[in-house]
């Protein structure tokens, strides 16, 4: 290796070294990616005639938003909405309560290995199964209605919240927790004083976010018969009642925005 000398460097240009050093490999990868992208787009078939016909229907749908009909199916809408809210609240509360112990168990820095493996397994299963698939299965078991939806959302909440809670616990300041342990605290007190204060803001923030997600999901789950406002929405589409569908969508958007606003306030308060 020759020595690096200042005189050689002075006056010369400086450029950040490339991430991939070998030029052939670098250009090869870029060209390959571009070729793949072009090829991928070429495989998408578009029937322009069909799109032209569909534009009318699309326009009717969009125009319906200018005259949403809250009235003629009012009782169906309120019933569906009420069911969705009940599902959301119940599933969120149950899901969050179950997530906390599983989240503690899934954090490597506080759980012994066997507990960790079991809890991580639960989290992995819950995250691997998409809500719709779980809902279809649960509808098959429990029949149509909000019970299946409630169970689906609880199950999904566990995977989401335990995982993120465990990650936050793993990232906590170890010394603060150590100081509590050094005082002779028992395990439960150690969690309550050393761990909980550190992860509480994130737990509250994530819970609010999950309530938001659960409400939106409840609108989807109706499509597979798991109850809630989604069922009402599905019926409206089936009957080509776009004005009623528009009314439902506006309500969903309104509620999601209100939840978003609320979670913003709460998160700012618990910091």
């Amino acid at each position: 290796m020759s020595e690096i000398r200042l005189e050689d460097k002075l006056g010369g240009a400086w450029r950040k070294p490339h991430f991939i050093k070998r030029p052939l490999l670098r250009w090869g990868l870029m060209a390959g990616f571009a070729a793949y992208l072009v090829a991928a787009f070429m495989t998408i078939e578009v029937d322009w005639g069909r799109v032209y016909e569909g534009l009318d229907r699309g326009a009717a749908f969009v125009l319906a938003f200018t005259s949403p009909d809250f009235v003629s199916r009012a009782s169906d809408i309120w019933e569906g909405l009420f069911e969705s809210i009940v599902m959301t609240v119940a599933a969120s509360v149950v899901g969050i309560l179950i997530s906390i112990p599983i989240g503690l168990g899934a954090a490597r820095n506080i759980a012994p290995l066997p507990v960790y493996v079991v809890c991580r397994g639960i989290v992995a299963v819950s995250r691997a199964l998409q809500e719709i698939i779980v809902a279809i299965l649960l509808v098959a078991i429990f029949g149509f209605g909000p019970l299946a939806g409630f169970l689906t959302l609880s199950f999904a909440t566990i995977g989401f919240l335990s995982n993120l809670l465990a990650e936050d616990i793993e990232a906590m300041d170890r010394v603060q927790a150590e100081a509590i342990k050094a005082s002779g605290a028992r395990w439960t007190q150690w969690i309550n004083y050393g761990v909980q204060p550190q992860v509480m803001p994130r737990l509250v923030g994530l819970s609010m976010y999950r309530i938001d997600i659960n409400f939106r999901e409840s609108a989807i789950l109706g499509l597979v018969g798991a109850g809630g406002i989604g069922a009402t929405l599905n019926t409206a589409f089936d009957r080509y009642e776009y004005d009623t569908a528009a009314a439902i969508l506006i309500l969903i958007i309104g509620i999601v925005m209100a939840l978003e606003y609320l979670s913003g306030i709460i998160r700012a308060r618990v910091q």
Partner: protein, 265 residues
Amino acid sequence: MLQLKKLTKTYKTGDQALKAIDLEVPKGQVLALIGPSGAGKSTMIRCINRLVEPSSGEVLLDGVDLARLGSGALRKARREMGMIFQEYALVERLTVMENVLSGRLGFVGFWRSFLRKYPQPDVDEAFRLLDRVGLLHMADKRADELSGGQRQRVGICRALIQNPKLLLVDEPTASLDPKTSRQIMRLITELCRERGLAAIINIHDVALAQMFVPRVVGLRFGEIVFDGPPTGLTPEKLTEKYGEEDWEATIEKIDEEDEDIEAAE
């Protein structure tokens, strides 16, 4: 009162942090443990209350070998040892009062601590300690609102409310400015004298150690290389043990500063 016998710690990585340490600390004695980073100071005091598990050897507190205790007995033994941490280690989102009272966790049941309903004598003692360190007016502030020096004084209260026999103090003045460092060291040594507490104070600042303690133990690469009164630690001795450095300069500078403050007081 505290006796270490052949205390050894070997980390999983193979690093031998402590090599058969023998040390005896009589009741009420405050000693400073000096040595550069990586000498094993932190490991040694953490082996005493078993935040770090010793590999072999004995840790005798009033004749009981702490290294052999089961988890229940260990919790009881930890109540006898207050610990003061580098960077304070207060639980930042709890209030000052909660942090101080957390020193009583070993003595109260879960529900009492969960509901923050501590026995009246504990609450009174917490107020008394906060008043002693001049932070009574901060009791309901959140710990992360305090300055560095204030946080360390809360840390001292948290250790003292355990009513321990022994204080384990890990670099109490790291990340504090020189003046605050001296105030904290003075406070710790004063409180130990008032209460007849023994203490092991880890400190890398030799000059600061010499100002406040009657006994200095020097650690290097996990072995004790000096044990005696601070007057025995001449610059020549230090150089011999820890290598060349301008010991005189640091010592003198601090002495002068301190005299200025003493004069001003």
